[in-house]
């Protein structure tokens, strides 16, 4: 069975929400489920091989960050109980428990949200936001941002190399480095402001007012399922808060 984008979004949002009130053991199990979903399910199939690799790299980072959080909290945060000695280091049970809770919460939250984005192109996500009622102007801004996100790193590198070739100090004390930061930022912002003026003019000349949403087919059944999942998780959340 393959879910549509809306249900996929709702399921990821629910998993992320669960991270806030489940005990660490349950969060850890759900985190493993997220990994299995990413690898084996059709619904959450990554949009490309690099996206899959990036997701796996992020998972490795999350796990190492989680282990580090458990280690550092166990080592530094004292509680009422006596410390236990592991490999010659004193760990406090309260600190370890606190570290495990926070680490598992972050691991589930992060992986659940990334699970959605690794399997959904931004264009389709923007369409989904439109169906949920977000103004067309905001959707245009998101699409413009994705355009700039693709362009900016290359532009930054180009300016960085040019400034380095001109002898801008990229090593040195804090003030010098802030100055060279400014020398990179200044042409970047100036060129982007000029580009914004040109793009803004082009949009106005084409009559863009951001009021008429583009017409696209809408999968109503998928939205019903999405609303069902979202409302169930909302009821769960309310129940937890009340408890």
């Amino acid at each position: 069975m393959r879910f549509g984008t809306a249900s996929k979004f709702a399921l990821s949002a629910t998993l992320a929400l669960l991270a806030f009130f489940l005990p660490w053991q349950a969060s850890l199990v759900l985190f493993l489920c997220v990994v299995i979903l990413e690898i084996f399910s059709d619904t959450y199939k990554p949009i490309s091989a690099p996206a899959h690799k990036a997701f796996l790299r992020f998972l490795a980072y999350l796990v190492s960050l989680g282990l580090f959080m458990v280690f550092i909290n166990g080592l530094l945060i004292e509680g009422d109980d006596d410390a236990c000695i592991i490999l010659g280091l004193s760990f406090y049970p309260d600190g370890l428990a606190f570290g495990l809770n926070v680490a598992c919460r972050l691991m589930l939250l992060s992986s659940a949200i990334l699970l959605f984005f690794v399997s959904t192109p931004i264009k389709i996500f923007a369409d989904l936001l439109g169906y949920f009622g977000l103004p067309q102007k905001i959707i245009s801004i998101i699409l413009l941002t994705t355009f700039y996100l693709e362009q900016l790193p290359a532009r930054i590198r180009q300016i960085f190399w040019s400034q380095e070739a001109r002898g801008a100090p990229i090593k040195g004390n804090f003030i010098l480095r802030i100055r060279s930061f400014f020398s990179i930022l200044s042409p970047l912002v100036l060129s982007s402001l000029v580009e914004s003026v040109n793009r803004g003019m082009a949009l106005e000349l084409r009559g863009f007012r951001g009021q008429v949403p583009p017409s696209r087919p809408r999968d109503v059944r998928d939205f019903r399922l999405a609303y069902l999942i979202l409302s169930t998780s909302f009821v769960l959340l309310l129940w937890q808060v009340w408890k």
């Binding site: 530094l76 926070v102 984005f117 801004i141 998101i142 990229i170 990179i184 970047l188 912002v189 803004g200």
Partner: protein
Amino acid sequence: MIQSIKERIRRETSGPSLPLIGFSVALNLTVGQITGVLKIPVYLDSLGTVLTAVVSGPWAAVIAGCLSNLLAAALGNPTMMFFLPPMIAIGIFTGLVARAGWFRRSHLCVLGGVLQGLLAALLSAPISAHLFAGTTMGGADFLVVYFRSRDYSIFESVLFQGLLMDPVDKVITYLLVFSLLRGLPERLMNRFPGAANVLGGKG
């Protein structure tokens, strides 16, 4: 009142402001690349929001700030999407101080940056402490753990970390935007709704 706000939002998100907001969001998300290469130990992740607040206005900045945090969540730091209130405050506060002419004087910029930093620290501390127990996958987490090991509560640790780091970050951000905009040609600035914030009576 609502009509006037709607009209302002429309004005601040039309023409060149619309692509500028897109650029600012991308700048917020990629500025870490430059600070990383230059080994500058500050975030500057609201640089685009402050730039938009001065050049376009507070509502455009609120949109830029909120979208930055939501997209940062999509790109690998999901904790960011819970920090919308500080971003909204940054947008509105900067837009208001820019309108009051604080971006025309460097000493007022420093004062604005300090106040902005304090406001951001006060607003983000409860979110960070209650939702994430002070851990937000950032470099400042070390400082929080350090304060916790000194027997401060989670909330106090997060608050002290914020009060130490945010004002410095925001003062640098404000001064960078001040210096960037001071050197821009008047003809270019006049195309944006916030031209008077930088040019004063000349705009």
